[in-house]
């Protein structure tokens, strides 16, 4: 038997929707096999999963808490991956955004001013923090051709150490140093009230709050969509991603573009960090088992890839995967398999990647025949299907 893959001449539209959907179904089926093999009941596990994600009381409220950062991380990854700049440092850029955002909230909020001012300061500071951290791999890539995958990833570890250091190993501005609790366990300083981001509460499922950050995420998606679809910047970035040589001939300033795209990606991640502090934790979370353990930045890559780097799909996928992630957190403990959510996410991504080929190619399984030696077989392949 032999599997051969042939190029499709025309890409059917229905496959564009069928493939992601099929990937999700396939992933749940494979994960069910894993569950059965390890002695769990897939039906009850999945029912628990969906109840905790979307159905039970206040589950959507909880899901939004996870989906908001995931949307930011997914958008950050999508902005860069689209140009084939593999920024996997959204995680660290988010920490930096949280650090600078928290500083702005504490400082501006502490001085007391009109309500929107501290929040605006946090948004700007968070974006700048993430941007600055993303500039390191961006500049190294643009001017020294250093592999951005490795540098951005290694910087995540450094950012995590910095975050822990600020709360646990120093008497920094971010750390709560007064009061009884502070002497027992190191925590971050609480934001003043004026710097806490408001939410919009809907009276469904017993109260569902849509955090301000979720609106910012949708706004960021719209900005990205416009940028990539309607502006010269986006067009040049797309050309550069598809064919660096064509971009060079067309006079695109490649170094500048690389730095700009990394900065864009980092500032979205940084905004996610600020939202993390302003919307949810209300203090800088330096605990190595807190924010750092969740790994929103890495899940964001899954979100971006599944959304095929389309900003609006990314937001939608972030909500769905956010549900999955939230269920994983809620159900953590005995009786629910740990790591299951990561396994499902991984398989979804694998099957989406494999399924991608269905939209561009036709897969044929044929019986092995004598291969005919074609003299002209030494042709170079075209660019790979993403």
């Amino acid at each position: 038997m032999r599997i051969s893959v042939e190029q499709r001449l025309r890409r059917p539209r229905w496959l564009m929707f069928a493939v992601p959907l099929g990937s999700v179904v396939f992933a749940f089926l494979v994960a069910a096999i894993v569950l059965v093999a390890t002695g769990h009941d897939p039906v009850s596990t999945y029912r628990q999963l969906f109840d905790a994600a979307f159905l039970q009381r206040q589950s959507v409220d909880q899901t939004l808490i996870v989906a908001t950062p995931l949307a930011f991380m997914g958008l950050a990854a999508a902005a860069a991956f689209r140009m084939k700049l593999y920024n996997i440092g959204a995680e660290g850029q988010m920490y930096l955004g949280a650090i600078t955002g928290a500083a702005a909230g504490l400082y501006v909020g502490g001085r007391g001013g009109p309500a929107p001012l501290p929040i605006a300061a946090m948004v700007v500071a968070g974006m700048l923090g993430g941007l600055a951290w993303a500039l390191i791999p961006g500049i190294l890539r643009a001017f020294f051709k250093t592999n951005e995958i490795l540098t951005s990833l290694l910087l995540n570890y450094v950012a995590g150490l910095l975050l822990t250091y600020l709360i646990f190993e120093s008497q920094s501005y971010w750390r709560q140093t007064k009061g009884f609790n502070a002497s027992v366990f190191p925590t971050g300083k609480q934001l003043p009230h004026s710097a806490v981001w408001p939410g919009w509460t809907l009276h469904v499922q017993g109260g569902t709050t849509i955090p301000l950050g979720a609106f910012f995420a949708v706004g960021a998606a719209a900005v990205l969509w416009i940028l990539y679809r309607l502006t010269r910047f986006g067009f040049e970035a797309t050309v550069l991603g598809d064919s660096p040589r064509a971009a060079r001939y067309a006079g695109v300033r490649i170094r500048r573009k690389i730095v700009a795209v990394m900065a864009l990606s980092g500032s979205i991640a940084g905004l996610g960090g600020a939202s993390q502090v302003g919307d949810f934790s209300h203090a800088l979370d330096g605990d190595p088992n807190g924010l750092q353990k969740v790994g929103y930045g890495y899940t964001g890559i899954v979100v971006a890839a599944l959304g095929r780097y389309n900003p609006f799909s990314v937001v939608l996928i972030a909500f769905l995967l956010g549900g999955l992630e939230n269920a994983g957190n809620t159900l953590q403990g005995p009786g629910f398999p740990a790591g299951l959510v990561g396994v499902i996410q991984g398989i979804i991504l694998f099957s989406a990647l494999g399924g991608e080929i269905l939209t561009r190619h036709r897969v044929r399984i044929t019986r092995r025949t004598k291969p005919t030696k074609a003299a002209a077989s030494a042709t170079r392949s075209p660019e790979p299907a993403t």
Binding site: F144, V158, I301
Partner: protein, 321 residues
């Protein structure tokens, strides 16, 4: 003398560098055949958890159990690599995204922690572990004692692997074929080399090495199972291959250098020496140094493109009619 900082650092650099070395050799084989596998961290973690599981569950004498654990770890790594191989070689998916997917699937919040939890491996001391085995009189020889003779058997095995991989790539027919496949698959194909088969074989071998690398962490360096125990070692191994210009002997040097950097922070703390202002600085040193070396290697005169396989990351499609 054997307690001087330099000797201790080199000795622990060799010990901590060994998992990095195994993983880097595996990645080197895969990349030499033209397949970039960013899933090293995930493959290492699955190898680590399965290796540890073996020593916890198998009741046999120490040597047999440990060999079995390494084999199980290697097999687990191979299975993980097979997913990547199928996606990128047969289905021609994007190698970068597929490798990242492998790390998410198998990594710290995925399969490895699923297995660690399901097999009940947390908070258990290892039943068997690798220890230094040469006579203590040899281990106490000045300088060379702790560095060369105070190591566990995995260190010596890794030396054999370095020589083996080096000879394989430069002196054997299949090794030369791999390089041809990595440099120019089309030319290799016209020579009658089966590109697909070579790429599969070396991606899987890379997975086996990564599995052994992971198992050598849970069986020798810190004999226990903790979620995400590799702590980024897989990524440093990928960076090592670049520093080493895709050459096995340079992988060894690089691995020991980064191993020593990892040992630096605890050693300095134990001796009450403060390097720079804070703990933050010495803890982040391995990561920062990796970035610095990457930058040096990727610029200027160092960028002779020595060894970087020309077809790395490019799927091969034979035009068929």
């Amino acid at each position: 003398m054997n307690n001087s900082l330099l000797v201790v650092l080199i000795a622990s650099g060799v010990a901590y560098g060994t998992p990095l070395l195994f993983a880097a050799l595996g990645e080197l084989l895969a990349e030499r055949s033209g397949v970039l596998n960013l899933g090293v961290e995930g493959m290492m973690l699955v190898g680590a958890v399965m290796g540890f599981w073996t020593v916890e569950r198998v009741h046999a004498n120490t040597e047999l159990t440990l060999v079995l654990a390494l084999l199980v770890g290697a097999f687990a790594g191979t299975v993980m690599a097979a997913i990547h191989a199928f996606l990128v070689i047969t289905l021609r998916a994007n190698q970068i995204v597929s490798g990242l997917a492998l790390t998410i699937f198998a990594g710290a919040a995925g399969l490895s922690s699923y297995l660690g939890n399901d097999l009940n491996l947390a908070d258990r001391p290892a039943v068997h572990a690798f220890h230094a085995f040469l006579p203590t009189s040899m281990q106490s020889w000045p300088v060379v004692g702790p560095i060369l003779f105070g190591q566990n058997v995995l260190v010596y095995v890794s030396w054999v692997c370095v020589i083996g991989v080096g000879l394989y790539l430069t002196r054997t027919r299949p090794g030369l074929n791999v390089r041809a496949v990595g440099e120019s698959p089309a030319a290799a194909d016209t020579m009658g080399i089966n590109v697909t088969r070579y790429r599969y074989a070396h991606t899987l071998a890379g997975g086996a090495f990564a599995g052994v690398a992971g198992a050598s962490i849970t069986l020798a360096i810190t004999p226990q199972w903790v979620d995400g125990i590799t702590g980024g070692a897989g990524w440093i191994a990928i960076a090592l291959v670049i520093f080493a210009f895709w050459r096995p002997e340079l992988c060894l040097v690089g691995a020991y250098f980064f191993g020593a950097l990892q040992a630096l922070a605890p050693q300095l703390q134990a001796r009450n020496i403060s390097l720079g202002p804070t703990v933050l600085w010495s803890n982040s040193l391995p990561y920062v140094m990796t970035i610095v070396v990457l930058v040096v290697v990727s610029t200027g005169t160092a960028r002779r493109r020595l060894g970087a396989p020309a077809a790395l990351g490019v799927p091969y499609v034979r035009e068929e009619h």
